[in-house]
């Protein structure tokens, strides 16, 4: 209970503060609220940085970066209500719950506020469009490309996944297999499953190295798997021979990149995501139509095309390597 009072107090203060600031700036400013899952999370702070970058490019746009203090749908509803009261022009939200926020967001849209979701989506009725960080085909292509980039002469690669039944990973692997013919010389020899357990993933990586002496790369589209493979390759003294790549978080992968076991890996870029969400919210608030098939521009990130559910994918996952890992490892 105490916490709830504190949250509303914070929201109230935020409201008061933003009212003060609105009186200070010119009235024709567009105000876009970037609502995140919770304040104080590096990933979202980085997204806010991107949003401010977009605001700077657009000019006359003010970003209100806000969110609850913990990752609850109730907290976000309070925030949305206060934003409605403030009469912001657009809300771009990463939702803690796809359904619970729909009534509050509908109320916002009834008041003429543009509502989009990004990162973590809201059900169709509660937003005009949703921006996914990436898409299955893009991720599938990226993980193969990451390996191929560092094998000019081609060679054997293996995939180390999470569980054999993991929906996301299986879809990515399927997509990766589809684009494989585009990468000449890249030979996928095995797909193994580490169950997202460090000990099992480590053993599976050891097994791959023993079974395929010519292995050039291990692709792990899961954070536990990529770290365990990196450790197994390091312990086997095969840094430089075998490149461990896939999907991981910069804060977790910094050690692997420093040691050279991982030359590069990928994950969505939160800065780009915040930037694109702001650009899209701005375009829609300015009158762009969000409907299936519509193409909406988003500044330096190009443009997105909406699908049947009014959702779109931003871009390929962003590649991290020794040149940018230090910048991102403290962010998320």
């Amino acid at each position: 209970m105490k916490r709830r009072t504190f949250t509303s107090l914070v929201a109230g203060l935020g409201l008061a503060a933003s009212m003060l600031s609105t009186t200070a700036v010119a009235q024709d400013n567009m105000r876009i609220a970037l609502v995140v899952k919770a304040l104080g999370i590096g990933f979202f702070e980085a997204a806010a940085e991107g949003a401010n970058e977009a605001a700077g490019e657009l000019g006359n746009v003010e970003i209100i970066y806000t969110g609850p203090t913990d990752t609850t749908a109730e907290g976000q509803i309070e925030v949305i209500n206060s934003l409605i009261a403030q009469g912001v022009d657009a809300i771009a939200i990463s939702a803690n719950d796809p359904d619970a926020l729909v009534p509050a967001l509908k109320r916002a849209m009834d008041r003429g506020i543009t509502v989009i979701s990004w990162d973590s989506g809201v059900a169709e009725g509660g937003r005009q469009m949703h921006l996914n960080p990436s898409s299955t085909p893009l991720i599938g292509n990226t993980i193969i490309k990451l390996a191929a980039d560092h094998m000019p002469d081609g060679g054997d690669v293996a995939i180390l996944s999470a569980t054999a039944t993991a929906t996301n990973q299986n879809a990515w692997i399927e997509a990766a297999k589809e684009v494989l013919p585009n990468y000449e010389g890249v030979n996928l020899v095995a797909t193994v499953y580490g169950d997202d357990l460090s000990d099992k993933s480590y053993r599976e990586a050891q097994g791959l190295m023993a079974s395929y002496p010519n292995l050039k790369a291990i692709i792990a589209p899961t954070t536990v798997g990529i770290l365990a493979s990196c450790q197994a390759v390091t312990d086997a003294g095969k840094i430089g021979e075998i490149n461990v790549t896939g999907l991981g978080l910069p804060s977790e992968m910094a050690g692997c990149v420093d040691s050279g076991a991982t030359k590069s890996f990928a994950i969505w870029n939160p800065i780009d995501l915040g930037y694109s969400a702001t650009m899209l919210a701005h375009a829609l608030a300015k009158g762009a139509e969000a409907g299936p098939g519509a193409e909406i521009p988003m500044g330096r990130m190009g443009s997105v095309k909406l699908d049947d559910t009014n959702a779109a994918a931003m871009a390929d996952p962003f590649t991290y390597d020794s040149s940018n890992i230090d910048q991102f490892k403290s962010i998320f």
Partner: protein
């Protein structure tokens, strides 16, 4: 000698030999000495935990919190390592063992003083320990670049061709073989589980014996916690998730009776090695992941059936004359 020939340990040794034979027919490099060393090293955490679990099971209890204890202790030592990177490894080992022992004592006290069934106590503490990790870290990971080099290097340091991790497992096996066969406490574990009433009349405090069993299991889990996070160079909430069941399985395969009172350190060691060899062989013999689970499960069922056969005490004939009378 005759007893050894009919014993569970010999049966397991034969099974392990057969297993290695089958594996080497499909993947000859598996039985190369260097690979066998790697398999033993990989199985060492399981051996450590299985010995602790065996002692607990001997006293008619079960400790489902070992893996959670391992994860919590691992996280605590990782956080200490971040805060005080220069701490000597000896101190770190002491902290890990002591912290794990305290967690084990907590289980033991609940079982001893409040007489709550051990399966309920440890099911509860399992969740509490994992929850505590989340509270400590808010779900964040401790990653290899945050750990100091000495912290990570200790279990991999090689002495006489074997990594320290393996040496620790060997030392613990020897230590507990002596404890279980040559000390009063060791014999009390057997007595407390084999026949609690008789043990009480013989002057053994069954509750306190169970308390010490949980303490030992906790201490070993704590020690393994440090070794685990430093070996895999990462600590997070779900470290070793579900590993407690593998540990219990190793004990069961090693001939430890779930009813208490029967079991030995060599048995637990061989049970752990059996599972360790399967776990290490399956990735290289190219079997579908769905079959891997079925094979591990099948091995456990066969072991339990063998256990039930071996441990079935023949009914005593009280009235021999009456039997022949008709």
């Amino acid at each position: 000698m005759k007893r050894f020939l009919a014993s569970r340990e010999l049966l397991l040794l034969i099974a392990i030999g057969l297993l290695l034979g089958v594996i080497s027919s499909r993947f000859p490099a598996f039985i190369a000495p260097s690979n066998l060393v790697a398999v033993f090293n990989d199985t060492s955490p399981l051996i450590l935990l299985a010995i602790g679990q065996m002692i607990v099971i001997l006293t008619k209890c079960i400790d489902l919190s070992v893996a959670a204890n391992l994860a919590l202790t691992g996280m605590v030592v990782s956080l200490i390592n971040i805060a005080v990177p220069g701490l000597p490894i000896v101190v770190m080992l002491f902290i890990a063992v002591a912290f794990g022992a305290v967690l084990g004592m907590f289980n033991g006290l609940l079982v001893w003083k409040l007489a709550i069934p051990p399966i309920v106590v440890t099911l509860g503490t399992m969740t509490i320990f994992r929850g505590t990790i989340f509270l400590l870290t808010e779900g964040k990971w401790v990653n290899s670049h945050e750990m100091s080099d000495t912290f990570k290097a200790f279990p991999r340091t090689e002495i006489l061709g074997l990594p320290v991790l393996s040496w620790i497992a060997i030392a613990v096996v020897i230590l507990f073989t002596i404890v279980m066969t040559r000390t009063t406490l060791g014999r009390a574990f057997y007595a407390a589980g084999g026949n609690p009433h008789a043990a009480t009349y013989a002057g053994i405090n069954v509750g306190r014996t169970q308390f010490w069993a949980f303490t030992i299991s906790g201490a070993l889990a704590g020690l393994t916690g440090y070794l685990w996070v430093s070996r895999f160079a990462v600590a997070y909430v779900d470290v070793a998730g579900g590993f407690e069941l593998t540990v219990v399985a190793a004990c069961v395969i090693g001939g430890v009776s779930i009813m208490g009172g029967i079991g030995s350190v060599p048995g637990a060691l061989l049970g752990a090695l059996f599972l360790g060899i399967i776990a290490n062989a399956l990735p290289v013999v190219n079997i579908s992941p769905f079959w891997q689970m079925a094979i591990s499960g099948g091995a456990i069922i066969i072991a339990v059936v063998l256990n039930a056969q071996a441990n079935r005490t023949p009914g005593r004939i009280i009235l021999k004359r009456a039997e022949h009378a008709t």
